[in-house]
Structures are given as structure tokens and as C-alpha cells.
């Protein structure tokens, strides 16, 4: 295992812990996106570019966006009542 891979494993573990430990939902969505970016770099370093592509597009763009929209929708409903 090279130094690069070791560093990326630590990065993924750190960002994953960040997702679990963040309590504010909006910050947690950002933490999920950061974790997805870390996973993308790890997959790239492990020579799996196809998986890295999928993780980048779905994990750091599509899923956080859907979460953010849901949070906005919930907030709007609470304010309206």
C-alpha cells in the first residue's frame, strides 16, 4: 500500500466520521458531499475510474442536492403554519 492510498483511506475515514458527528442537517449534507469527494479520489487512486465517475456525479452532486431541497421544503412548511 502506497503513501497516497494510506492518506486517502485516512481522508475517507475522517470525512465519514465527520458525517456521523455533524448534528446540523445542512452541515451534514455538506459533510456527505465531502465524503463523496474523498471516496471519488480513493476510487481514482485504486484505478477504478468508472466507479469514481459514478460516485462523483451521484454522491457529491445529485444526492446532496436532493437532501438540500427536502430540507428547504420542510423549513417552508414549518414557517407557513
Amino acid at each position: 500500500m502506497t503513501l497516497l492510498l494510506a492518506a486517502l483511506f485516512v481522508l475517507v475515514a475522517a470525512t465519514g466520521t465527520g458525517v456521523v458527528l455533524s448534528r446540523d442537517p445542512v452541515r451534514q449534507v455538506m459533510a456527505i458531499a465531502a465524503h463523496g469527494l474523498g471516496l471519488t479520489l480513493l476510487f481514482l487512486a485504486l484505478q477504478a475510474p468508472d466507479v469514481a465517475f459514478s460516485e462523483l456525479t451521484v454522491g457529491t452532486a445529485a444526492v446532496p442536492l436532493l437532501f438540500l431541497v427536502v430540507l428547504a421544503s420542510i423549513r417552508n412548511d414549518r414557517k407557513g403554519q
Binding site: A52, A61, A62, R75, N76, G80
Partner: protein
């Protein structure tokens, strides 16, 4: 559940599960070792048999193309279900206005953001199309390219706001993309059966190795997946963003 009970549960499950985790971790193959023979077999045979250099596409669209068809219909079903759930009581009129929180003014997007979004939208679209078209030559393919295209269209919402996004992105076109592409995938698979071959068998000449258009039947399936994924994800984005619009009395 009290905190005390939860702690007890945590300790008990740790004591029970930890030996199993240790045994599994020690029994795993070494890092980087791949004892299964299939990857090596594909790497050895696919360039000669299918004339394409992206083995992931060879597996997805040819060697196990039938599985990909199942995945395609999983996506169609999931998006259809989400759309039905979300649209149920809301309707789909394109003239709706975004909802505003009382007491919080809505700031228009800054000029820099609008400019960057308008510049990046065509570039991202082009990159998505590039990824789709080079499915059999370089990493990427219909799924990844389709998601990139759907995300690129989303820059409309980020830069120009809800009204422009809603007036340009039409759900009927997205339905057509998604459903039509899924049907095209199945029909492509049925054509070889009409000629007496197996379902999805690659009956066309596969072209030159490393050529962008090598793979033929795989190219058609790849395009179908790209349209279905782009339409499906854009549909999801549209329906989720519609959740933030102002409710109307008549709907």
C-alpha cells in the same frame, strides 16, 4: 429507550459481534489481491471478441446486458414511484411561483454566479455528451454521462432561478426520454431474436479496436441508457424542486 439501556445494548452487541468481525478481517484476501478469475478473463478476451477498450462497458452492455436491462427498469420504476408520490396532490402547472418564507427576502443570484453558471452549462453539457459517446473507448458511459447532463441542466436553476428553470425544463420531454429510451433498450435486445439469435446478442460487426464508435449494438444500448438516466435524474430534480414552490389554491 433510556440511555442506560442503549449503552448496555451497545456493550452486549459489541461483545457478541467483535469476535466475528476479527475472524472475518483476518480471513479476507490480502489488499490488492483478486482471487476471482472473471476480471482477468474479461481483460484477456474482450478486446479480441468485442473490439472495445473499456471493459466495464463490455460487461455492462454485452456480457451481462440482460442485467443492465433490469437495472434500467429499476431506475424507471423508482423515478415513476417518486414522481407519483410527490406529484399526487400538487399538480404540474409550469406557471407556479417559488415559495417565499415570510420575513426573509429572496436575494437574486449575484452576477458572478449567473455568469459562471451560464458559462459552465454548455461546457458541462458537452462534457456529458463526450462521456456518453466515448463509453466503449475510455472510462465512463451512458450512466455517468447521463447524470452529468442532468446536473448540467440544473445550473439553469442555480444561475437563472426557478422561473427560467421551470419554463425550459418540460416534464413531458423528460418522460419521453426516460420511457422511450427504456423501450428502445428492450427493442434493441429483441432485434437479434427476430433474426434467430439470443436476446441482446451482438450481431452487428463490432468495428475497429479503440475507435469511438466500436461496439455497435453496445453503442445503441449505451445511448438508450444515457437518455433514460439523463431523463430520469432531471425528472427527479424537477419533482424535488417543485416541492419548494408556492402552494396554489386550485390544485
Amino acid at each position: 429507550m433510556s440511555v442506560r439501556f442503549r449503552l448496555l445494548l451497545l456493550i452486549a452487541s459489541t461483545i457478541i459481534l467483535l469476535p466475528a468481525v476479527v475472524v472475518l478481517a483476518l480471513g479476507m484476501p490480502a489488499f490488492g489481491a483478486h482471487p476471482l478469475p472473471y476480471g482477468d478473463a474479461i481483460n484477456r478476451d474482450a478486446p479480441g471478441q468485442r473490439h472495445i477498450s473499456n471493459m466495464v462497458s463490455a460487461v455492462n452492455f454485452d456480457y451481462r446486458g440482460f442485467d443492465t436491462m433490469g437495472e434500467e427498469f429499476m431506475l424507471v420504476t423508482a423515478v415513476t414511484g417518486a414522481v407519483m408520490l410527490l406529484r399526487g396532490t400538487r399538480g404540474e402547472s409550469p406557471g407556479a411561483e417559488p415559495e417565499e418564507v415570510p420575513g426573509r427576502s429572496v436575494q437574486p443570484a449575484g452576477e458572478a454566479i449567473v455568469l459562471i453558471c451560464r458559462l459552465m452549462l454548455p461546457v458541462s453539457l458537452l462534457f456529458g455528451i463526450y462521456v456518453v459517446l466515448h463509453a466503449t473507448a475510455t472510462p465512463g458511459g451512458g450512466f455517468q454521462g447521463g447524470v452529468i447532463i442532468a446536473s448540467a441542466v440544473l445550473l439553469l436553476y442555480l444561475g437563472d432561478g426557478y422561473r427560467v428553470w421551470r419554463s425550459i425544463v418540460r416534464s413531458r420531454l423528460l418522460h419521453l426520454c426516460e420511457g422511450g429510451a427504456a423501450a428502445a433498450f428492450v427493442l434493441t435486445g429483441l432485434v437479434p431474436m427476430l433474426l434467430g439469435h439470443a436476446f441482446l446478442e451482438n450481431i452487428l460487426p463490432t468495428g475497429q479496436f479503440r475507435d469511438m464508435l466500436a461496439g455497435w449494438l453496445m453503442q445503441i444500448e449505451n445511448l438508450a441508457v444515457a437518455f433514460a438516466v439523463a431523463g430520469g435524474f432531471a425528472m427527479l430534480f424537477l419533482e424535488f424542486l417543485e416541492e419548494t414552490r408556492a402552494p396554489k389554491g386550485e390544485e
